[in-house]
Subunit: 238 residues, 2 copies
Amino acid sequence: MFGFLRRPKVRIDIPRLKPRENTTDYPKVNLAELTPEVLPYLGQVAYVQLAIFEELSAAIGSAPTVAAKQALAPAATQALDKHERLVAEIRRRVDTPAEVIEPFTAGIDRYRAIVKGADWFEQLASVYLTAGILDDFFTLLAAGLPGDIGPRCVAILDAETGRTAIVGILSEATDADAVLGSRLAMWGRRVVGDTLLVARSAIHLTGNPESDEQRIEPVFTEMIASHTRRMDRLGLTA
Amino acid sequence: MFGFLRRPKVRIDIPRLKPRENTTDYPKVNLAELTPEVLPYLGQVAYVQLAIFEELSAAIGSAPTVAAKQALAPAATQALDKHERLVAEIRRRVDTPAEVIEPFTAGIDRYRAIVKGADWFEQLASVYLTAGILDDFFTLLAAGLPGDIGPRCVAILDAETGRTAIVGILSEATDADAVLGSRLAMWGRRVVGDTLLVARSAIHLTGNPESDEQRIEPVFTEMIASHTRRMDRLGLTA
């Protein structure tokens, strides 16, 4: 669909993930071969941010207290802001951002239905964990984009998420309820698999399964390590 | 509950409504006697803006296209921004904004359930029409607040709403479907009554029904005139 935009791949190092979350550095894996074309990349990541906004908005809508709504509001605003900045990047290239995004909505919406969660706490855990993995993934993938768009996307994705409020809400709830804690731990282990499948589907495969796996494997290993740190932060056993 | 904050009422003129929507000026009715105390006022209007955000978020969630989601996103952001600015005003006075807001959530949530609408178009028409009436109402009511908080609230409420996108979506839909147009016209006539009831419940009544009515009546007449102009803008017969 975007074949007319195809361009020679340039080998560049992937950026490090957000320093504020770093406990170990990411491997300097070369992701250039895995990165999709610019517009499909932007379309997917823009819709992911819109989806994060929608999930957070739903969580605000069903929050049990006004204080919880207020605590979650900045995270919703930040996701929408990222979506709008990514749409602005699409608009610098084409006039119809919705058409660039549309091909990715059905797949991402199916995924959202799977990781939605059965109640408000699972919903919050999902947003925190899945948005974390997807932000990491698209940050890493940005390294393969040509010109200055990669660093620009990293800057957008790396901005404040506002999601530490979720850590506060969930820690308080699981501290008071051990059964909830073990339920959320199971839930967290479950959503990671579905999220990695979505990430995988966004990757541009070369058609050589062996070399594709060699490239993907270390990236996913590190993404899982980052996920484990987020589980820790929530007080959950990964 | 907020009796300790009671202060002498000062008579001041009410501000004009947003010039960009003006086709006739509002009467210079004196609303000082009707305005509630500062904190209950801020608590109510802050929750109204949060409710507008939630309704818009729900409409974004159920929008049929990405283009529609994007068109509605700024309106959601603006409402949340207003909510946060109003919460900041509460925080300048007390440390617990949630406690100031909480007493008003049940009543406003009941009202929201009534004006929710049966489908996406009714939902959008509701947000556009009811948010318009409530913005007008709380703008007028701000005149009775003491000191500089009145003008500050007017500035917050008067900021860009982003809701013209709704006019575009609904006009296009009703142009293509006359039956939808007449259904939405009926719906618009219905929600105005419920919204004026909510407005009325926010008013500080003096206990003298005759003088209360004399004060309320011209304000509500003008609010209905403004509502009619919004119906016009949607292409609906009021």
